[in-house]
């Protein structure tokens, strides 16, 4: 246990999937069940270790980094293997390990075409390492590596197993396959952002004295005012680009609907549940503590962009004809609430952002699972062709209704707290921020919840209710099978539990966030 | 010492080589033309080496290098030509566009 607490535990969580990936790689391609077993075993190990970390987590000191270790790594540039979790990263780490396991359970007999479980699992495990690593990294170089590590597996997942329908795009002369277009767009967008992010990291490194990539030391320096002025503004802008693409914030969001729609089910789930959170987590972990002054300058801009995203995403949802694309656009709106929470720079707002991230992870992950399963059966995502799903598949239909309700922010389910608390935070933002901007944002955000309810209910009406079309009379539309249920039940339980007892998340985040805000903004 | 006659000779040789490289169809002859060009370069190197009275004999040494590399290059080049000839029963460069994007 001492070794576990002293950094081994977290390393285990991060690198078990990588070891698993190596082992799966060694297996012959034909031994699929062995590959699945190994992948499941190693991700379960990772999940188990993260649960153990929660059990051993000291909830009285959530603002401190626990289970940390700080080893010399690349001494030439002073980059260290510095990892640890506090109350902010802990829920996200658990979410990440849990979603990976569920993704593998779901995939058990739902392999996307072309059928190649071995390669798919290797990528999935690699992805898990990248995601888990991002949440534990406390060194900018380490963070960057994990942040970028996530890109490749997702790129290949979309590019190889993605949607093969051809689309004609404005600006392109020829038709392209959706998967190719979406994967390249995803990769380039993220790379574009992270190139600036890296520049920002390097600028921080060279400005700090002694040169360091350590987040805590940089935060101390930043709070002393070392990065104030024009330098800080440029660095914040660079980091902003990197994180905002990932969140994604309007108007950098256009990769998201394409990538989510084209990705295979599991890819969409992980993309929505975890990958988007890397961006907002970056804001909380890096941008705010290290550049508090610039954060205050930028906060109204972020708030306005967040509100535009909320309204814009909801309106765009109303125009969608494709089920997955609708869910994808809903992410734009929901992440808008997360960013609105962050932009208030208050403990309430940032807490709201973290619980909003967790809730969006489980809810939208669940929605993508359901959409994938429905596509698997109907072989279409066209909303107009669906209808009466509740009659054809009562369990899937019921779960879709439940999750849609959670997604529109029904109190008592997980989605409510993030939205409500973000609005609460923006009524009373950090002292010195423009009340006009933030209170207008609150009203606009509240109106956004009406639009959210509108498109979700409309979607439910068109997909779930009414009489099913004759088109489906001869089809084998079996309801949810065992593996699907095994993957979904934990999410349903989580949506419900967080909604009824939000302390599950707030209990971990609250002190950590308060301390962060106190140190950075003196609030 | 006059250097210009060596240079004229080298220029002539080089031009013949360029002509051969650009015009001949047969890959073997193109390789031979390349050899001519290399020879021209070697002559230049030796000529300048002698003309400048370089104590380190750089020109002559480089000429030796060029000869060595030319030998290696011809070895590999001929091997490729033989392989191509085996596969396509032709060493005609007009018919070869394997390198096209």
């Amino acid at each position: 246990m001492e070794m576990f607490d002293g950094g081994w535990g977290l390393s285990l969580i991060v690198f078990l999937p990588l070891v698993g990936a190596g082992l799966v790689l060694l297996l012959p391609k034909r031994q699929e069940s062995a590959a699945k077993a190994i992948a499941l075993l190693f991700t379960l190990g990772s999940l188990g270790a993260s649960v153990l970390a929660v059990v051993r987590f000291d909830f009285d000191a959530t603002e401190q980094f626990q289970f940390g270790t700080d080893l010399s790594w690349i001494s030439a540039i002073g980059s260290r293997y510095h990892i640890g979790i506090d109350g902010i990263s802990m829920p996200l780490l658990v979410l990440s390990t849990l979603m990976t396991v569920l993704a593998i359970v779901y995939s058990w007999n739902h392999w996307p075409e072309p059928h190649n479980p071995k390669a798919f699992l290797v990528l999935l495990l690699l992805l898990a390492t990248g995601m888990n690593g991002t949440f534990v990294a406390l060194d900018l170089v380490l963070f960057f590596i994990f942040f970028e590590l996530v890109l490749l597996p997702m790129y290949f997942m979309i590019g190889i197993w993605g949607d093969r329908t051809k689309i004609r795009l404005p600006g392109f002369r020829r038709e392209v396959e959706t998967r190719l277009y979406a994967s390249i767009k995803f990769f380039l967008f993220t790379l574009f952002g992270s190139a600036f992010m890296l520049l920002g990291f390097l600028a921080l490194y060279f400005k700090s004295d002694p040169h360091t990539f350590d987040m805590a030391r940089l935060a101390e320096a930043g709070q002393m005012g070392l990065f104030d002025g024009t330098f800080g503004a440029w660095v914040f802008a660079a980091l902003f680009l990197g994180f905002a693409v990932k969140v994604p914030m309007w108007p950098l969001h256009t990769w998201l609907p394409d990538a989510h729609t084209a990705a295979p089910t599991v890819g969409s789930v992980l993309l929505a549940a975890i990958l988007l959170k890397l961006g907002s987590y970056g804001f909380i972990r890096i941008s705010l503590p290290i550049l508090p002054q610039q954060a205050q300058d930028w906060a109204p801009v972020i708030a306005v962009l967040a509100v535009i995203a909320i309204i814009y995403g909801s309106l765009a949802c109303l125009a969608q004809t494709d089920l997955k694309r609708l869910i994808a656009f809903s992410s734009v709106g929901h992440m808008g609430f997360v960013m609105l929470g962050i932009s208030t720079l208050t403990d309430v707002g940032i807490n709201a952002a973290v619980i909003g991230m967790v809730a969006h992870g489980v809810i939208t992950g669940m929605l993508f699972f359901l959409a994938g399963s429905m596509q698997h059966r109907y072989h279409t995502r066209e909303i107009a062709r669906l209808g009466g799903n509740m009659k054809l598949m009562p369990v899937i239909g019921g779960l879709l209704a439940f999750t849609a309700m959670a997604s529109l922010g029904l109190p008592g389910l997980a989605g409510f707290w993030g939205e409500f608390m973000a609005l609460l935070g923006s009524f009373n933002p950090l002292d010195g921020l423009s009340l006009t901007v933030f209170r207008s944002a609150m009203v606009a955000g509240a109106i956004g919840t009406v639009l959210t309810a509108g498109y979700m209910l409309w979607m439910l009406q068109r997909v779930n209710l009414g009489e099913p079309s004759d088109e489906w009379s001869g089809h084998d539309l079996h309801d949810a099978d065992g593996f699907e249920l095994a993957a979904w039940v934990p999410l349903v339980v989580a949506i419900f539990a967080i909604g009824v007892f939000p302390k599950i998340v707030f209990g971990a985040t609250n002190d950590a966030v308060s301390e962060l805000v106190r140190r950075a903004f003196g609030g | 010492m006059l250097v210009s006659q060596f240079l004229v000779l080298a220029a002539l040789l080089f031009s013949i080589g360029v002509y051969g490289v650009l015009v001949r169809r047969n890959a073997v002859l193109v390789l031979l033309s390349i050899e001519l060009m290399l020879t021209a370069v070697s002559i230049n190197l030796v000529a300048f080496g002698a003309y400048l009275q370089d104590t380190l004999l750089s020109g002559q040494v480089f000429a030796l290098f060029v000869i060595t590399i030319a030998a290696a290059e011809v070895g590999i080049g001929l091997a490729i030509v033989v392989m191509i000839f085996r596969n396509r029963s032709s060493a005609n460069l007009d018919e070869l566009d394997l390198m096209r994007w």
Partner: protein
């Protein structure tokens, strides 16, 4: 501040003892919890039970009814105020709690939800027999009961919001119970969204008040009110208005009333319990919960003007609409909206007791009326009165109970509605003399006129449904006992329910409601105002009389009977009732004809049109934003960058012919160019 209340208010009713309530109050959290837990039991195990889950639903309501009545009895002996809270999260300086409050107001609501709920759940067993989603119906219905109890038991505003939205969810699920038909789904969505729009107000109000006070507990907020908290006073107007907008949505006040008549698409027990007796009164409940906040001049007293205006528009205009409906349930729905207007007016007049007293009696008689309507619909398989008529004989118990409910609603002495409506009139009259001013005087007349309209449309409903010749296809028969017994029970309560508050004789209800930790500053009359009571009663009787004149006649079809204009006037003239003539020209004709039609028209073509226009504009905007801007604007730039790169590559790749000699030519040509360049430029 308290002194201010005393000076402002007529009298403060504080029960002699306020006790903690003991074990019964400490375990009051069971009241919302039991239905919610049983709801899950119904979802998971309901289908395997002998009565398919109904027994669990019924058990939950039995529990709530017994608990609620026990608390009511205890509260009647000595006032109870108890508050308990469990922390469920801490966020920044705010605490999020699950709380339960046991005081006069919530106890009254527990009892109403429990008793009416018990009756309706029993009734529903018969009504829903054979429904394809029988178990699911009871699950959703139990969810509603639980959510409603979460709402009324809430000790803080966030929990109130939770319950508020959850009853909205239950409403959505149950209005759309027959979801095979998309028109029902449309009604369900309309209800949810209309409420959600109003909820924007509620959310903002909750945030303003909670943040300003620093706590979401009603106790803390009302303490701040009684302490005259200046920070809260600054935002009080906007907060009060925002909260009232939320209340307007749930209580279907003009202009948010549009959802309630459409909500009749749900099964009738749903209309009875949710859209008449309990859920729609949540807005009035909220105003009652926050009453001192609205009552104090320092705080949101200015909002009361808006409340009373909105309430009076609703009570009158919506009552008129009930006159032109053919669907029996829609008649009752508009009537419900109108009665909610009465409650709102009472709240706006500063009459806490009167508004909640009407809520109390209305729950019984309007719940009853819907159950009777359901019984009729069950028998004739149609909602329309044009398919009914003459049902008095085949359905004697339905007729008797419907009549009792109608008379109670019309405000006929000594039925429940008489007492509560009189209390409201007396309170408005009191307010007119104590700060309400001219507006209150006008509203008093509107309320009296509303009483006429109420009696008038109920007379129409009774005559068209139960008198005349039967017009339908099915063979009407009395409903089974499982349906008639609850109706008889509620009829009994509709008859005697008003005696709990007889001004001057027995004012138990006033004292029960006053059992709150802080004084309410309630406006209400101490003794019965005989003149006003007589006016109210006479107006109601006049309404019935007028209704009888218009609709009590036989004709070949219901449509002919329903058309008052044609043969009616001649008998009246022959009987020399010139007064009737006068009524027709000056009152009934305009009211029933152009005025009501105009209101109906504005309802459809103005307000609904605005709602639809919002939808259409949002959809159109969505198309523009997505298609025009997102896809052709932002994405075009992104694609154009990629496409441009692609095109450039396409062009450049033509130069890579694969011909070695062309490459070599280019090489030498380049070298020559370089040399020439060097020679020229050096």
């Amino acid at each position: 501040m308290i002194a201010g209340f005393i000076a402002y208010a007529g009298e403060i009713h504080e029960p002699a003892h306020l006790v903690d309530g003991g074990v019964l109050a400490q375990y009051a959290w069971l009241i919302p919890l039991v239905p919610l837990v049983l709801m899950f039991a119904i979802v998971f195990f309901g289908k395997r039970l002998p009565y398919k889950g109904w027994e669990l639903a019924e058990a939950s309501m039995l529990f709530v009814a017994i608990y609620g009545v026990a608390l009511l009895v205890m509260n009647a002996n000595e006032g109870i105020t108890h508050e308990g809270s469990i922390e469920i999260a801490r966020i920044g300086s705010y605490t999020i709690e699950w709380g339960w409050v046991v005081d006069g107001l919530s106890i009254m609501m527990y009892a109403v939800v429990g008793v009416v709920g018990l009756a309706v759940f029993t009734y529903a067993k018969g009504y829903m027999e054979g429904d394809s989603r029988y178990t699911w119906f009871f699950a959703a219905f139990t969810l509603f009961a639980g959510a409603m109890l979460v709402l009324v038991s809430s000790a803080n505003m966030i929990q109130l919001l939770v319950g508020w939205e959850l009853v909205g969810l239950a409403s959505y699920l149950l209005i759309g119970h027959y979801w095979e038909d998309h028109s029902n789904n449309a009604a369900a969505i309309k209800a949810f969204l209309t409420n959600k729009i109003a909820d924007v107000g509620l959310v903002i109000g909750v945030i303003i008040v909670g943040v300003t006070v620093g706590s979401f507990r009603f106790g803390d907020i009302l303490s701040a009110v009684s302490a005259g908290d200046s920070a809260l006073a600054q935002v009080a107007f906007w907060a009060g208005l925002a909260l009232f907008i939320g209340a307007m949505g749930k209580s279907a006040q003009f202009p948010f009333h549009v959802w309630l008549p459409d909500a009749m698409a749900g099964p009738t027990p749903v209309s009875s319990l949710m859209h008449a007796a309990t859920m729609v009164t949540a807005g009035v409940y909220l105003l009652g919960r926050m009453f001192p906040f609205y009552q104090s001049d320092l705080f949101a007293a200015d909002v009361k003007t808006w409340i009373i205006i909105i309430g009076s528009i609703t009570l009158f205009a919506m009552g008129l609409l009930a006159l032109v409906q053919d669907d029996l349930k829609r008649v009752l729905a508009y009537s419900t909206v109108s009665q909610l207007g009465y409650m709102t007016v009472a709240m706006g007049a500063g009459a806490y007791t009167a508004g909640l007293f009407h809520l109390f009696t209305h729950a019984f008689f309007k719940g009853l009326l819907f159950l009777c309507a359901g019984s009729v619909i069950h028998a004739v398989h149609s909602n329309n009165m044009s398919d009914m008529g003459g049902l008095r004989k085949p359905m004697p118990w339905t007729y008797r109970t419907f009549l009792a409910g109608s008379l109670a609603l019309a405000g006929i002495f000594p039925l429940a509605g008489f007492w509560s409506k009189d209390e409201i009139l007396a309170s408005i009259s009191y307010d007119a003399g104590h700060g309400g001013g001219a507006i209150a005087s006008v509203v008093l007349w509107i309320a009296i006129a509303g009483a006429f309209v109420t009696a008038f449309y109920m007379a129409r409903a009774v005559y068209l449904t139960f008198f005349g010749e039967y017009q339908g296809q099915a063979h009407p028969h009395e409903s089974p006992r499982v349906m008639t017994y609850p109706m008889i029970g509620l009829a009994g309560l509709s008859i005697v329910g008003g005696f709990v508050n007889v001004p001057g004789l027995f004012t138990g209800f006033t004292e029960w409601l006053a059992a709150r930790p802080l004084p309410m500053g309630d406006h209400h009359a101490e003794s019965i105002d005989f003149a006003l009571a007589a006016t109210g009663l006479l107006v109601a009787l006049a309404g019935i009389a007028a209704g009888t004149r218009v609709w009590r006649r036989d004709a070949a079809t219901q449509r002919e009977r329903d058309r008052f204009r044609v043969p009616l006037l001649y008998p009246l003239l022959e009987h020399r009732y010139f007064v009737d003539d006068l009524y027709r020209v000056a009152l009934t004709d305009p009211i029933k004809g152009p005025v009501a039609r105009f209101i109906d028209w504005t309802n459809t073509y103005v307000i609904d049109a605005v709602v639809n226009a919002f939808g259409a504009v949002a959809k159109g905007l969505a198309r523009v934003v997505y298609g025009g801007f997102d896809q052709r604007g932002i994405d075009f730039v992104v694609n154009a960058v990629a496409g441009g790169t692609n095109e450039a590559g396409e062009m450049l790749r033509r130069t890579t012919t694969g011909r070695v000699q062309q490459y070599a030519g280019a090489l030498f040509g380049g070298a020559v160019l370089l040399v020439v360049g060097l020679l020229i430029f050096t």
